[in-house]
């Protein structure tokens, strides 16, 4: 259970880190702090530049709208990615725990299987060695009998 909580904490930490880094490094050129806003003085609107001011304000509005949509997209995107990362981490940790638990519970049965397999292999090896030993002994006996016959 504590591993799942650990995974969620990691997920939250990652999401906060991602948002902070995104704001700090990627949006720093677009972020305007409160004191900066006070220093910005709008251009006086005169008859000469009123048309230009309208075009600019329309353009600004479009830019702002686009920024807001892209912000929404990035926010939801980062949330989805963070959620997926959190799920992946928790699944990984949970699976690791389950596997360890399974092996601890079934260790004796696996050990028995390994011992049985080893015993079977040893039996086959001993059979082969014994066969060779008996055949060699028979060969030596036959040779000695042949020698005696020749003598």
């Amino acid at each position: 259970m504590y591993k799942i909580i650990f995974g969620i904490i990691i997920g939250v930490f990652l999401s906060v880190s991602f948002t902070f880094l995104y704001r700090t490094y990627y949006l720093r050129d677009y972020v305007v702090s409160a004191p900066d806003l006070k220093t910005i003085k709008p251009d006086p609107i005169s008859g000469k530049n009123i048309e230009q001011a309208i075009i600019n304000s329309t353009f600004d509005e479009k830019i702002n709208s686009l920024n807001k949509r892209s912000d929404d997209f990035l926010l939801f995107g980062s949330m989805i990615i963070t959620l997926m990362l959190g799920i992946s981490v928790s699944v990984y940790l949970r699976t690791e725990g389950e596997v360890t638990k399974h092996f601890k519970e079934n260790f004796s049965s696996y050990q028995e299987k390994v011992i049985e397999a080893t015993s079977h292999i040893e039996k086959l090896l001993s059979e082969a060695q014994s066969n060779a030993e008996i055949v060699n002994a028979l060969k030596q006996k036959a040779e000695s009998q042949t020698d005696k016959t020749i003598d």
Partner: protein
């Protein structure tokens, strides 16, 4: 001539003996007769007993008892190495008959 020496060894008897040894149903007399047969055929004395001595077992009965135990540290070795040696010897001897 003792009963062991009178025992007739043919393929059928050796097959039966092998099965009995594998299922740990053979008697000490049968093990003795097998050792006698190996000695008379290939001049190797106490072939089975010497295999048992490697595991600090000095009689056929100890071997039979050890294999009957449910939990014995020697059991897997005895059912592997010693049994393999005995069945290997029997199969080699069968080829000579």
């Amino acid at each position: 001539m003792s009963a062991i020496e009178k025992q007739k060894f043919d393929r059928e008897y050796l097959d039966l003996l092998q099965k009995k040894i594998e299922s740990n149903k053979a008697t000490t007399e049968e093990y003795k007769s097998l050792d006698f047969f190996i000695k008379s055929t290939v001049d190797i004395p106490n072939y089975v007993l010497n295999s048992l001595a490697e595991f600090n077992l000095y009689s056929y009965q100890e071997y039979i008892d050890e294999r009957k135990k449910d939990f014995s540290p020697l059991k897997s070795k005895l059912e592997g190495q010693v049994l393999g040696r005995i069945t290997g010897a029997i199969s080699a001897l069968k080829a000579t008959l």
